[in-house]
Amino acid sequence: MKLHQKPVLSFFRGCRTQAPDREGILLKKGTRNTSYQRRWFILRGNLLFYLENQADHTPLGLILLENSQVEPRLGATEPYAFTILTPRAEGTGGRAYKLAAENQEELGAWLWALAGASWRRLVVLLPPLEARYRELCQAAGKEPSSPPEDCGFLATLSTPYSFQELHEHFGKEIRVLQMVRRRPQASPNGSRSQVEEEQELNSC
């Protein structure tokens, strides 16, 4: 079976300006070479990427976390060790990725982040929130609006996308990002300024 790599790499690279769910160094036990190797791990959604070095353009590998189990591993040669057990097709036990964090705090943080990583978990949270939102809008006599699209520019740009158009769009996005970074710290009502920033970015 072929996993089309371009969409995955495009996702990986496209998200690099956005903070991932978690990232950092973890030790990973090799399969052939059974020593632990230092790798940079990036968790985004239900996907766990690992890189040889933090700044690498292409990940070394990808671990699919949907329906996987994450457990601390006691009695391992490395302290702060844990296992990600991914499901196998035949249900006869999955692939076990043997990993280790660098300290207790990192171990705890990774276990917590990985435990919450599944798509299915997210999908059950949405309907009650959407319903509540619509309920509140109705009570307030307000027209409900939709969450922001994947990337505002694709909704308005017509095909084919010329280099000029892409160049202009990304230039605009970079200017907004620069503006956001230069902005002084949050106003007293922190969440409001964050929402404004988000809205500005989404209108690119």
């Binding site: 996993l3 499901p87 084919p160």
Partner: protein, 149 residues
């Protein structure tokens, strides 16, 4: 980039959001339309030859755009390469709309953005954080301002 094929196979056997036999044509020039069993599982689209148990391939549905293509089809393209399209033919306008809606909702990033959007809107209207009742208001994945310094 390495990945474990068995993990992908296991995922392809999980309950699907949507599954149907559709016409499918790859992005390369001169690709021919083929009948495939197309199966949407979480944020992955698997496609099988109609009589086989193992998928031929899988597409990750993140940062992608789903566009209607006349007469009753749609295409999927990926943000960094919008000219490169995977084409699908449905048997009716209705089926086409159903698939387009499901594919757009399939992205983890889309769901996350939606969740953050509703959370903020509800908080603005009620003064309360709706995620507190779920005990997840502190989770990094649901915070705004996800840009690196």
């Amino acid at each position: 980039m390495r990945y474990n094929e068995k993990e992908l196979q296991a995922l392809s056997r999980q309950p699907a959001e949507l599954a149907a036999e559709l016409g499918m044509r790859g992005p390369k020039k001169g690709s021919v339309l083929k009948r495939r069993l197309v199966k949407l599982v979480v944020n992955f689209l698997f496609y099988f030859r109609t009589d086989e148990a193992e998928p031929v391939g899988a597409l990750l549905l993140e940062r992608c755009r789903v566009t209607q293509e006349e007469p009753s089809g749609f295409s999927i393209s990926f943000m960094e390469d919008p000219e490169r399209k995977y084409h699908f033919e449905c048997c009716s306008e209705e089926q086409c709309q159903e698939w387009m809606g499901a594919l757009r909702r399939a992205s983890y990033e889309f769901m996350r953005r939606s969740l953050i959007f509703y959370r903020n809107e509800i908080q603005k209207m009620t003064g309360k954080d709706p995620l507190e009742q779920f005990g997840i208001s502190e989770e990094a994945r649901f915070q705004l301002g996800g840009l690196k310094a």
